[in-house]
Symmetry: C2
Subunit: 222 residues, 2 copies
């Protein structure tokens, strides 16, 4: 399964959040990051081809006045031609990775921002509907610079899953994602403790409850 | 009361809808139209000053992928500095004039577009909230090119009211708007029939119910 991230950030190179996301993608072979800077008509055909070839498309951006930065919207206005959305996107997934400068609790009725991120990002859900794509739950990340290292590790895994995990209600598939990714990691860092975790995971595939505990332990060890 | 319209349209000069809106504004002295084309940093200060001096700010655009065209969002990203929204907008009104290529009924649960315009344009409502502005009901115009001349006349009056009428639940203020505007029109076109309508309106100010009938008649005569 191929994933394409279209990322827009007015100060991409200085953003700690975007560096973190970029680093998290570096070990994922099926994920391509494409930075959308100022609109250039000459790039449209290349990008449309990339979009056609992907299975999961991600828009990644910081929330700017309750939506994406204007640069991304200009790109969407030009990329989403009838040929693209009527023929080439059916059944694919559309995900949103959004970073915010205020806490998640602010985005609710009665909260500081009054509306949820799901409400504010409805235009993207509508775009997915129109293109007959599956709209994924929004992946949001608040106040990155204030997170502890422990919190960042958990977010790293969640983010990598958001990009590459096959979406299924079955626990087995979630579990398989962990086994596959730990095997890859093991090749790179060669530690015995990871090999043990993998072995343990494979042994216990029939015991979902005990597996959930292992997953929690494993997160701590990473 | 001063009104400033910030209008964005990728083909402004060829748009029948925008010509219609422009024509409707031509006789309104308190209304200024400012066209936002490609973003230019040199215009920011001038525009911020115009926004500071207005009482009612209107964003006017065609709905492009369930939001404003990207060009407008880029302008908002640059104009809405903390100095502007924390100090200069409190208590002012923010309105949206949006034209759509599909019918109004499409924008509802179960409809073709699934979401209402109120839902899709939440980011603008959130912008108003953050700036402590009053968010006006959205003014939407669907399928302009298919409207009859009669329908366009009604929309013309509704649009002019949206731009200039003091918002109040009192019927008296709505009525005064008609009297004032008919007086201006009368000066320009000098017809006896309009003078009679004005006279009748002024005579009957105490009889709200009969006035409503007059208003309906007047709309037909225009």
């Amino acid at each position: 399964m191929k994933t394409l991230i279209l990322v827009t950030h007015p100060n991409y190179d200085e953003s700690n959040t975007q560096s973190f996301f970029k680093e998290a993608c570096s070990e994922l072979e099926t994920v391509t990051i494409y930075r959308l800077a100022e609109y250039k008509a000459t790039e449209v055909l290349v990008l449309q081809q990339l979009i056609r070839e992907t299975d999961r498309l991600i828009f990644q951006f910081p929330l700017y006045w309750y939506s994406c930065p204007g640069e991304l919207k200009i790109w969407i206005d030009h990329l989403w031609t009838p040929t693209l959305y009527q023929q080439n996107l059916v059944g694919k997934e559309l995900g949103i990775v959004v970073s915010t400068g205020v806490s998640e609790e602010a985005f609710q009725a009665g909260g500081q921002e009054k509306f949820t991120l799901s409400e504010l990002l409805r235009p993207f859900e509508a775009l997915a509907n129109k293109s007959k794509m599956l709209f994924m739950p929004i992946f949001s990340l608040a106040n990155f610079n204030y997170l502890s290292e422990e919190e960042k590790k958990v977010i790293l895994i969640n983010y990598q899953q958001y990009l590459t995990k096959i979406n299924s209600p079955q626990f087995k598939i979630k579990e398989q994602w962990f086994i596959d990714n730990l095997k890859k990691k093991n090749k790179m860092i060669q530690t015995d403790s990871l090999a043990q975790v993998i072995h343990q995971l494979e042994e216990n595939q029939d015991y979902l409850l005990s597996l959930q505990d292992s997953l929690a332990e494993m997160k701590e060890e990473l």
